[in-house]
């Protein structure tokens, strides 16, 4: 123990003697650790934002859709689509569900007095706004009557408004969706960009009846049903109930699998969490490569250092250092260097996160575990890449080392 402490001191002296070279050596580690911390934190930040958004959807949310499967590169529908009959059955029988809205979406060309843009029209009913707790900036939502009579009215998002109306007040004005005139009755409150980069304000919401009649062409059924469970605690029950009702409605026999999916907000969170988790791991792994490169840098410098200090090593051996003393000395040097790199890299990474926040407004909370990973990796790299040069030093023959020019 005492011996180890003394060896530490010796290692520190050696590093201190070559300060500028030591700093250059650790540069690779500094950058590597900073990169690991920043990428992992960015991944975590993105994940958190996605999760927040999904939470924003409402904890009671239950989504019901037709099961799709990838076949030959395209989505293929498995079995019967969710349709009006399903909707009616659920509405009539599901006791755990409070609100429901069909959802159909169509890609369209929208034109207003000041411009046009390709966008997506969502066909929904009046309860949709409640289910997703969307709020209005101007005007009003469309009403149950509008849905019943398939009125050509719509509520638009801020991005859509900007493109189609510029400075004009959109309420009461007409836009043409695939050449069909719709009257704008409401403007949604801006919610900003989604975490995946999609613009949540780039939407048009219209009664699904109207969309089905006018724009949906030959397609049958709904893309999905959005529903609200009675409260947070009834979500699981709602899911079971919906599944049972739909199996009945779709006449699925007991041994057959569902031909629809019911997903709750929690499940959605889990799935996206998995996706962003994979993304984060991938990014972190790529960043780790730079750490390994940094480690090779350390090994390189340590090898040079061993050669340069051959006589010193010879002297130490002649004076009574054991091989293990020399080995630990050089190992400690490598580890101290990489840990110093780890510390500086952590600082740099945290600063980097702040800078990104200042520049892009994308808030990245520095994930504590990213610091641990960066640090641990740095230490590991130090040991792994320091070991070879250290061993080389320890195995030197003292007489040859003393004679080394």
């Amino acid at each position: 123990m005492r011996q180890l402490f003394k060896t530490f001191k010796v290692a520190f002296q050696a590093i201190n003697k070559n300060r500028s070279r030591s700093l250059l050596t650790v540069l690779g580690i500094i950058i590597g650790v900073a990169a690991v911390i920043m990428t992992i934190s960015a991944g975590e930040g993105a994940n958190k934002e996605v999760q927040d958004q999904i939470s924003g959807l409402g904890t009671n949310l239950v989504m019901i859709f037709t099961k799709m499967e990838h076949r030959g590169g395209s989505h293929v529908r498995m079995g019967r689509p969710i349709d009006k009959r399903d909707f009616d059955i659920l509405q009539k029988n599901a006791v755990w569900i409070s609100k429901m809205s069909p959802l159909v979406n169509v890609g369209v060309q929208a034109a207003g007095p000041n411009g046009y843009k390709p966008t997506i029209v969502y066909g929904v009913n009046h309860e949709y706004f409640d289910i997703l707790s969307r709020e209005l900036a101007l005007g009003d939502f469309f009403k149950e009557d509008d849905v019943k009579t398939a009125n050509k009215v719509c509520v638009i998002g801020e991005t859509t408004r900007k493109e189609l109306f510029a400075d004009l007040d959109p309420i009461g004005r007409q836009i043409r969706i695939d050449k069909i005139p719709f009257t704008v009755v409401g403007l949604l409150k801006e919610v900003g960009q989604g975490a995946m980069g999609q613009d949540q304000d780039d939407v048009i919401l219209a009664p699904y009846t109207t969309i089905q009649d006018r724009l949906y062409g030959h397609r049958r059924g709904y893309d999905m049903i959005m529903a609200s469970a009675l409260d947070e605690n009834s979500v699981a029950n709602a899911k079971i109930e919906v599944s049972e009702l739909l199996r009945e409605s779709h006449q699925i026999r007991p041994f057959e699998k569902d031909d629809f999916d019911v997903m709750t907000q929690v499940e959605l969170q889990e799935i996206t969490g998995n996706i962003t988790g994979i993304l984060t791991t991938l990014l972190g792994a790529i960043a780790s490569i730079s750490l390994i490169v940094g480690g090779i840098g350390i090994m390189n410098i340590m090898l040079v250092s061993v050669t340069e200090r051959t006589r010193e090593i010879g002297t130490r051996l002649a004076i009574g250092a054991r091989e293990s003393d020399i080995l630990t000395q050089f190992l400690i040097e490598a580890v101290v260097l990489s840990l110093a790199g780890g510390i500086l890299g952590t600082v740099l990474g945290i600063i980097g996160n702040q800078v990104i926040y200042k520049l892009t407004n994308f808030y990245i909370p520095t994930a504590p575990y990213s610091i641990m990973i960066g640090f641990g990796f740095a230490a590991l790299v130090g040991i792994a890449f320091g070991y070879f040069p250290a061993r080389k030093a320890a195995k030197l023959n003292p007489i040859d080392a003393l004679r080394y020019e």
Binding site: K17, E312, T315
Partner: protein, 248 residues
């Protein structure tokens, strides 16, 4: 009663093999060195002086023969035990000083104690300071090696060889890189240390320096040619006088 033997060799031989070529660097060396002796080793270049000293210093192993250092049968020791014996029983001095660069005299002298595991030297700095004072460098303790003259550096090296209170000090041409005056200073230092009871063995090329010792072993082709006491030993004064210099 005979004095205690510090070094005893029995039929010590060393053969270097380089492929097919065999170099018989040492052949049947038998010698005994007792406590308090001051031995000079001389001989032509290539006569095996350094080879002998490396073996005596436990840096190298003999090809044949036995070596006892301070009663320990060195042949039987493993690597770590050899390191320990170098650390505790031997003080090595080299021609090229071999100090740590850009490091203070004090830290250099402390170095053997860093590797000392006996727990005998609890305050390395104090021991190192004492050793530096013994070699007359009490006022250079915190100088870095590159701030010292060659003679001073060699004295730091001598202090380093002293600090662990070794059974014997082995010096391989300690004065080889120094001018005559500095060489005499170093030789005189050896005499003083010997007077204080240190056992010293030094290789030298220079007869004037060898003349400071009490006994001279002359090697030729790896064998001991002569081994006799030195009559009319030099002193610092006589050596300086010979150089035409006066005592400063």
């Amino acid at each position: 009663m005979a004095n205690k033997k510090v070094i005893e060799t029995k039929n010590l031989s060393k053969v270097f093999k380089n492929g097919d070529i065999e170099v018989h660097a040492l052949t049947s060396i038998n010698m005994v060195i007792e406590v308090g002796e001051f031995v000079a080793i001389m001989g032509a270049s290539g006569s095996g002086k350094s080879t002998l000293l490396n073996i005596l210093g436990c840096l190298d192993k003999p090809s044949e023969g036995d070596y006892y250092l301070d009663g320990v049968h060195v042949n039987k020791l493993n690597k770590n035990e050899l390191a320990a014996i170098r650390n505790q029983k031997i003080g090595f001095i080299f021609q090229s000083y071999n100090l740590l660069s850009r490091t203070t005299a004090l830290e250099n002298v402390e170095l053997p104690l860093v590797y000392n595991r006996t727990g005998k030297f609890l305050n390395p700095a104090a021991h190192a300071k004492m050793a530096l004072e013994k070699v007359g460098l009490g006022n250079r303790i915190y100088h870095k090696t590159n701030e010292l003259s060659g003679g001073e550096q060699q004295r730091v090296a001598i202090a380093r060889a002293l600090v662990n209170d070794p059974a014997i000090i082995l010096s391989d041409e300690a004065t080889g890189n120094l001018d005559s005056k500095a060489s005499i200073e170093v030789a005189d230092l050896f005499v003083k240390l010997n007077d204080q009871g240190k056992t010293i063995m030094m290789i030298t090329h220079e007869p004037e320096i060898a003349q400071f010792a009490k006994r001279m072993i002359y090697l030729r082709d790896g064998r001991i040619l002569t081994d006799e006491p030195i009559k009319n030993r030099s002193t610092k004064e006589s050596a300086l006088l010979e150089l035409g210099l006066t005592v400063s």
